[in-house]
Amino acid sequence: MDILYLLIPFSVVLVLLIVAVFGWAVNDGQLDGFENEAERILLDEDQAA
């Protein structure tokens, strides 16, 4: 069970990393609309909102 002393701090750090990645996705506008990302490939560079 000693491995828990390593795994628990590790999982806490991992969780915080996941939160950070999600924050990047939200603030990058990837979650503004469900179709946005799928349709982006169809738009010109300067059209991408």
């Binding site: 828990l4 806490v12 939200v26 603030n27």
Partner: protein
């Protein structure tokens, strides 16, 4: 005021008393979390010189400001809001949309941080719940608690930020909103749990509540997320109407060439060509061409409408096929679409009277809750010190009056949005309340039950081919703009007439290819022996075609009247028209109670008489010549289109001209009242049940958090039912 300022303000401002008078501006506010915020904003703005009135609707986060731009600069207004802790942008589409986008991202980000970390904290807390005594070593237990604490930190510091800033604003402004007990509750829980973590044998006890705390915050943010969604949907619907104008319009020059110009450059009297698939840039009348037009944006009616020469088109509607040439009549702020946008903004930024009462009750309630929690904490300190903090926190959390303050605005906002989609715009939210009591619906005839345009009902001639004559009459009628002639022509091509002359009040006179003079107009003018049954005549000499024109009832009039009667409401017809015409209309629509030949004064007396007999009257009129009668009725609905919209004093406007929206509105009003009562009853019942439990110490903070967030969710979701 400088002209430049006026232009700057124009997109979101109206001047009800003329350009030199007081201005009414619309703003969108960010950073609002509850009903108490609206009071703070209003107080901050009223301190400014030149501000006459400020009203914030907490459900839609819209601010309506009555002010004198000559005495206060726009920048001062925005600065005052900023220092009160809120951000406002003028309610023109782009910045408002950006504000909403940032707000939505921010809310989602906070919700995720709280929700995701809540799950992880739960995971770390589970071993302590399920482990048998002695199974969990003290070291491991402490490590798990430390992990929970680290994961709770971002939730407290970031996700719960709005509660703390909201509470701080409310305290600074000397008002108690729902953020205060929430903030106190989570701060006390966090402090007690942190104390227990660092010093398990200390005065704060050995229990940690990180799981309850994160769950409470996550659920509360979830409830707010739904509320935010409802608000943004209302704003998006508004914007869809406002943003429907095309980027450019094709203006025809006199020499037959055309140019592309911005819609702002159009002036009344211009001619524009609208291609298939393009939207109309201005209100106007079709000059040439025919086709189908989709006016769903304005009327909620998705079936296309046929348009031909002479028909009116509105800016923002979509031309589905065939190019149309349109004579521009109204542009920019005068168009129907803009009138609707202003009305919707006005309705959404208005705060119903009853909501003020709810706010005051909620503020008193909050103060009582804070005292109660303090008393519970002190009381339990004597009985069992270890549980004092938990009990006080449970009381604070469980009684949070969010459900109480959300109940009314959520229901009203959803209902008005649902009505707007059916083409009925509420200009006064309190009309919803009054609509429930209505038991008599009084219709005006012309322009309300019937369409304003006439229809050819019958034509006959003695000793001549009536149909052939009718075709000739139509080709002459196409040359005139008189309503009777337009009804007769019905889009027919103008014939080859010379020497055309219109005689006011009589008719039109012209010579055909052989030089014979024909007349079309009043029967007595066309013939020496007028047929009393005819309304119009066409002929030369003894060869006369008699025409009878009648008002056509709207397509759904009979259905609407039947639906109203099915709801148990009396339907009356009150008209100033001739008895014969009114009787005919009443018979067609199966209306038993009708009165004809009424003057405005006798209409007013009739409505007053019914009211004296205890009837609650809903008056439906065209809003212009019915104004006094409308004013006397309990609820007023005007049929409305065009520039008249903004000036009408009605409680609601039937923009779609679909009468079926009336029984729907009455049904929805009753449903709204029911939802409102359910919401208030739920909030009251919930508090009555939970406060004693919390005081007795039988309700742990976790259960209190679930109950409170669930009650907020219940209220918001219950109101969403009105959308269907």
């Amino acid at each position: 005021m400088a002209e430049a300022d006026a232009r700057l303000l124009a997109p979101f401002t109206t001047w009800p008393d003329g350009p030199a008078g007081v201005a009414a501006s619309q703003f969108q506010v960010a950073g609002m979390h509850c009903a108490a915020c609206s009071g703070i904003i209003e107080a901050a703005l009223l301190k400014l010189p030149g501000v006459e009135g400020a009203s914030v609707n907490p459900a839609s986060a819209r601010l309506a400001l009555r002010w004198w731009p000559s005495r206060t600069a726009l920048a001062d207004v925005l600065t005052a809001l900023q220092s009160a802790g809120y951000k406002a942008t003028p309610d023109v589409a782009a910045p408002a949309r950006e504000l909403r986008r940032v707000e939505r991202r921010q809310a989602l980000w906070r919700l995720f941080v709280a929700g995701f970390l809540m799950m992880q904290v739960m995971m770390l807390a589970t071993p302590a719940y399920v482990a048998e005594a002695g199974e969990l070593s003290p070291d491991l237990d402490r490590l798990l608690r430390w992990g929970s604490w680290v994961l709770t930190l971002p939730v407290m510091a970031f996700a719960a930020g709005p509660f703390f800033s909201g509470a701080w604003r409310q305290l600074r402004a000397g008002r108690l909103g729902m953020d205060v007990p929430v903030a106190v509750g989570i701060a006390v829980t966090f402090a007690a749990s942190t104390g227990a973590l660092f010093d398990p044998t200390g005065p704060l006890g050995g229990d940690v509540y990180f799981d309850s705390l994160t769950m409470f915050i996550a659920l509360l943010l979830l409830a707010r997320w739904f509320e935010l969604g409802a608000r943004h949907r209302a704003a998006d619907a508004l914007e869809a109407v406002a943003g429907a104008l095309p980027a450019t319009a094709e203006r025809l020059r006199d020499d037959g060439t055309s140019e592309r110009v911005a819609p702002e450059a159009l002036r009344a009297g211009d001619r524009i060509r609208v291609a298939a698939g393009e939207a109309f840039a201005a209100d106007g009348r079709v000059l040439a061409g025919q086709g189908w037009v989709n006016e769903a944006l304005l009327t909620g009616e998705s079936a296309p409408v046929a348009k031909a020469a002479g028909d009116a088109v509105v800016a923002g509607s979509l031309n589905l096929d065939g190019p149309l040439v349109v004579d521009v009549q109204r542009v920019g702020a005068d168009t129907t679409a803009q009138g609707i946008v202003r009305l919707m903004q006005q309705a959404q930024s208005q705060r119903p009277l009853a909501s003020g009462i709810v706010d005051r009750v909620a503020a008193g309630f909050t103060a009582a809750v804070l005292l109660l929690a303090l008393a519970a904490g002190v009381g339990w300190w004597w009985i069992e010190p270890a549980r004092a903090v938990a009990v006080a926190v449970a009381v604070l959390i469980v009684t949070c009056p969010c459900a109480l303050t959300l109940a009314a605005p959520a229901a009203w906002l959803t209902a008005s949005g649902a009505l707007a989609r059916r083409g009925l715009l509420l200009t006064d939210l309190s009309a919803l309340e009054r609509l429930c009591a209505v038991d008599t619906v009084v219709f005006d005839k012309t322009g309300t039950l019937s369409e304003e345009r006439l229809q050819l009902r019958r034509h006959w001639a003695q000793g001549a081919d009536a149909d052939a004559l009718l075709a000739v009459a139509r080709s002459l009628a196409a040359l005139s703009r008189h309503p009777h002639a337009r009804a007769l022509a019905e889009g027919a091509e103008a014939g080859c007439w010379t020497d055309v002359r219109e005689v006011a009040g009589r008719g039109i006179q012209a010579r055909d290819a052989t030089g014979t003079p024909w007349r079309l107009g009043a029967p007595a003018w066309v013939s020496d022996r007028p047929d009393p049954a005819a309304r119009l005549a066409f002929g030369c000499g003894a060869c006369v075609l008699w025409l009878d024109l009648a008002e056509a009832p709207r397509a759904d009039a009979a259905e609407a009247v039947a639906a109203l009667r099915l709801q148990g409401r009396r339907v009356r017809l009150l008209s100033g028209d001739q008895p014969a015409a009114v009787a005919q209309m009443a018979a067609r629509l199966d209306i038993a109670h009708w009165r004809a030949g009424a003057t405005p004064a006798s209409k007013l007396a009739a409505v007053r008489g019914w009211q004296a007999e205890g009837e609650r009257v809903l008056m439906v009129g065209d809003g212009i010549n019915d104004a006094p009668v409308l004013a006397a009725a309990d609820v007023r609905i005007a049929m409305g289109q065009g520039a008249m919209l903004a000036r009408s004093a009605a409680d609601a406007l039937l923009v779609s001209n679909r009468l079926l929206a009336l029984p729907q509105a009455l049904a929805l009003a009753t449903k709204t009242r029911r939802v409102l009562r359910q919401n208030l009853a739920w909030a009251a019942l919930y508090n009555a049940a939970c406060v004693p439990l919390a005081l007795a110490g039988w309700l742990p903070p976790l259960a209190a958090g679930i109950g409170m967030a669930a009650s907020s969710l219940f209220v918001v979701l219950n109101a969403q039912r009105l959308n269907r």
